[in-house]
Amino acid sequence: MSASNTLSIAPSLADVGGPAQPLITARDLTCHFPVRSGTFAPKKVVRAVDGIDFTIRKGETLGVVGESGCGKSTTARLLIGLVPVTGGKIIYDGQELGADLSLRNLRRGVQMVFQDSFASLNPRLTIEETIAFGPKVNGVPQAEALAIARDLLDRIGLDPARFAGRYPHELSGGQRQRVNIGRALAMRPRLLILDEAVSALDKSVEAQVLNLLDDLRRDFDLTYMFISHDLNVVRFISDRLMVMYLGEIVEVGPAEALYHKQAHPYTAALFAAMPSMDPDARTQVPPLAGDPPNPIDPPSGCRFHTRCPQASAVCGMTRPKVTTLGPGHQVACHLHDPNSGHPEATT
């Protein structure tokens, strides 16, 4: 398949630091949204993303999971500059956003596909025009842009002879999501962020799109950040997993290892909530009680302590340190920090 890679535009931002340099490094990345509760009420903020550190390596797929509202989409939006950074740094291939790299250039290297396949397509453009639009805006001549679009249609499994002239409403949900992927690829990004991109699709269509993503990653040398609430999907696609809770990262590690053994009690609850797939061994106990706390006024210490089955006194008082458990496996929980003072902490 990669032999037919005839696209004339090179990746929009050439490699700078070589394979060992992470494509993305986030340092103390923070995004607070101001909220208005009344004219005289004190100013408050939603701590959507609250000081997170992570890297995305070149060529890997980083899966991002966590409860609704924990800050997954906001993290993604920060990486493509759709929401302003409140604090911290984004470093793209060694170049710091705002210092060595402009927002405009960052956006050429990072593209995003969203859940709602319909809302993100212009209903008045044929799908060929939709895919050609980005390159054209960036100065690629019309004929060449259309050639790129047709080549991409072919790659995403939509025969250009049949589909090029169709409008979004003439496509199924799975086909529309393919077009969204094609449109993002036309910009030749190096990082493609998929935010619940397969969540609205039927299972059989989802499998088609996941197979496609796997092919494209190899053919186009892509790096993926894959956000999903479906742990089966995340396990299938990810090299590493990042688990978020209430604006923070609670655990990061190799996907397969995390799938088999979770270190953080929240990660454990998340995995325990997966349906059992065995009618003779149905889930008996809810994996997690209660509702998520308010991100405007998050709990002190470990933010999970209000719902954690293993919380002790220290958890409500002190923020847990990040402990390294194995190669690339980190967790922020007092249980894993021998010096935390948690009575059940590993020694």
Binding site: G173, K203, S204, N232, R235, A269, S276
Partner: protein, 323 residues
Amino acid sequence: MTALVEIEDLTVRFSGERTVHAINGVSLSVAKGEVLALLGESGSGKSVTLKSIMQLLPGRRTQIGGRIRFDGRDVLALKGRALADFRGRDVAMIFQDPSLALDPVYSIGTQIAETVIRHEGVSRVAARSRALDMLKRVRIPSAERRLDNYPHEMSGGMRQRAMIALALACGPRLLLADEPTTALDATVQMQVLLLLRELQQEMDMSVIFVTHDIGVAVEIADRVAVMYAGTIVETGTISQIIKDPRHPYTKGLLAANLHGAVKGSRLDAIPGAPPTLEEPPTSCPFAPRCPSALPVCREARPPLVNRGPGRAVACVLEQEPAI
């Protein structure tokens, strides 16, 4: 087991700008106290089947054929007051989006109490205490205080539980659940599924639970009916469906489920897309996508053939006599 609901050869056709043959001869029965999952992909006719039982389809543009019986009564013939009593007292429905069931301008307590008064004619005080009892049963924390909450003052999971409390307030014998957990987080989804399972047993209710997620069906259902293109292609107990799927579509659905699929493997995706249903199917509706299709599959629609009690498959490959 006696059937509480019996659907016989149901057909539903929508006319209008575009004709859709949404249901094409569905026969089903649900026993007292049984949980049946309707499993199928988008557009397969799951919601329309539930709405037919509730008579919630737009009257003028819908042609309905076949019979639906509830405890021996002809549901499709119910009108006016009898229909209003049937909905809410005998049968209740819950949805993916609680805003379809909850009124934003009344508190949760008021909405539940009003429903109880309407169907049972009890006093305001009695109705309010029932509302409180229901909020406790669906395990809404500090139920007394929550009685006066409006829907928007609750989290998604709590709203879903409030909707369940409203639906179950008059002790319906049949609950129709249309993907009530699809929009929820994995952890909240599991909480709500466990709650529904518990209430179903306590109240000895029958449930038809619509889902496209086989994992959810495993957690909640006794029996499963798999739908495709407005037809039932396979029925069986949940164990039979999971461990011994017979219809190629059911097999494809299970293979595409990804459960346990590890990185680097290839997913067995079903190629193609379901039919558009502008015409009713005259051959096996799955034939164009089926890896085992034979010429005969395109000649006539394979009937749903019994393969044991409660087990049936609509596929030519299954039509030799059972051994």
